[in-house]
Amino acid sequence: MRFLRRIIPGYWAGEGDSEKDLFRYRRLWKYSVSLTALVSLAPLVIMTVVNYYLDQKVLRVEMIHPISQHTSNTKRSLEFFIEERLSALNLIINDKPFEDLVDQKRLYSVLRNMKNSFGGFVDLGVIDAEGYQRSYVGPYELKGKDYKDKDWFHEVSLRGLYVSNVFMGYRNFPHFVIAVKKEKAGEGFYVLRATIDAETQIQKIISPFDLRPSTDVFVIDREGVLQTSSRFHGKILEKSSVAVPPYSSRPEVLEGQTGEGQSYLLGYAYIEQTPFILMIVAQRKALMMNWLSVRHDLIWFLVGSVVLILLVIFWGSIYMVSRVREADLKRDALLHNVEYTNKMASIGRLATGVAHEINNPLAIINEKAGLVKDLALLTEDFPQKEKIIKNIDSLLANVERCSTITHRLLGFAKRMDVTLETINLELLIREVLGFLEKEASYRNISVNFYIPEGFPSIQSDRGQLQQVFLNIINNAFAAMKEGGRIDISMREEREEDAVVVTIKDTGHGISKEDLPHIFEPFFTTKKEGGVGLGLSITYGIVEKLGGRISVESTVGQGTGFTVFLPAEKTRF
């Protein structure tokens, strides 16, 4: 709360102005904040969101691209590998006559050559149209085996070539079979059949791609049985934990989820003319690492920017509205000042006019009464003579009282010739205090000066200033009981090119209702003897000298008068 207090400006906290004004500044502030926030944050948020999705898209493409590339490359390699071996079988079956192939020795030399030039061949056999293996070379005794009812034999006899799934078979290691058929001229056909070591050969082709530790490359058949061992999705000849993807003649990339809920990217390709499907499974999480860090950065960037922008907007708006308010207050003060000056001038003119008109009849009354008194004194005693003279004396005394007022009133707005001289304000005020020294010591009133080093002298009118300070200090004395204190401080107001004298007392203060009227003529709060002209004359003089006077007061605590006087040249 204290922090809020510090950043919330006065107009928000409800200091000073009227309720209507406060509401106005608050609304201004709200408008300013919401508008600037809208125009600055909206594009930022939109850009960030768009960027987020674009980045995600690009990253996805970047993620998919290498997988699809490798899938496609590996598919080609695998196809080439199988194609090559089928071609070798084709070459042999077409090149060698049937008689050569059923000859065990010759067949053995063929197998040896093939092992040397291609690799991966384990054995070789020739089966006649009845499914009877006529010759066989390899690590087992399979000559004479009957394949007549085997599916593969039917397939090769129909399609002309055959590639099997991987199986263990008699040999008890993973291998697969390829076979090609040759029509004999006029009488049936025969088949050349070879076994290929699946594990070493296929693994060799697909392994180099294994780039990331989280990526798994393996081959399944169309039933989903693993044809090679995999890292995470089962052992060879087990059912793969990844479902068989739909058929496509081209390499594809799919997104999917494993049973454990981990999402992955699957690159796959159906290998033509074989039951094999190449599978490349990349764990999405591992691939997403980069993306996640980008997203993380992006979110922090957004949050940071928003906070920064909001701070700037808040401070900017506070500053701006404060400036507007200051300008308003200044303008109001100026208007008030002008109004007040005009009011005082009209009152001054009225007072002078009235005083002047009254002064002449007053002079006549004075003479008439005087004459009556003269005549009465010259006449011999007559009844009531003493009483008459006494009354005339009272009449004359009251005329004098009236004339004192008219003279002071006439002085209120009189034409003044200002004589400029260099004045040390401290000395001048000390002189004025000299008149009141006795009263001060009698009433135990202390006077303190607070004057900064090097306080300048000013050009002004000595007599007028004496009158000003005498009036103010006199009032201060009148307001205080025994043991009061008067503080006189001076300072320079460089912006206004003025010197400022403040005279504070610890008197009874002036009530809020009285405060606006104290410079008006005939306004007095003194119960006895106050005519109410002192401060109005003071006001007039200070204005004439090119300065101004203001007052602050708290009932029970005291009153402070502040006199601004031009520091350099006076303007009359």
């Binding site: 002449n360 002079a363 003479e367 005087g370 004459l371 006439l410 209120f412």
Partner: protein, 121 residues
Amino acid sequence: MAPLRVLLIDDEEELVSTLAERLMLRGIEVEVGTSGAYAIECVQEKKFDVVVLDMKMPGIGGLEVMRRIRREQPGIKFILMTGRGSLEEGEEGMQEGAFAYLLKPINIEDLMEKMMEAVRV
């Protein structure tokens, strides 16, 4: 001692006549007038020791009347009466050569004193 001869000028007829009567009761020879023009005319015909002049009058003002008379007869003393509250106007008259100035309403004793002083000098 011959009585003091005084010319009393103010645009308020009632004021001058009353004041004159009071001065005469005090043994002073008084001539009264209500305009500056009359004053200038009057001093040429008669001889006066003191002229008591209101400063603010319609027509020729007090200061101007004093200037003109003093040009002819520098010996005549002037006492000015001013209705203004400020003392500056009176001071201005003093600078122009008046002997004294008094604020209206006038205290008759002050006036008597100033007139006596004027002829003594």
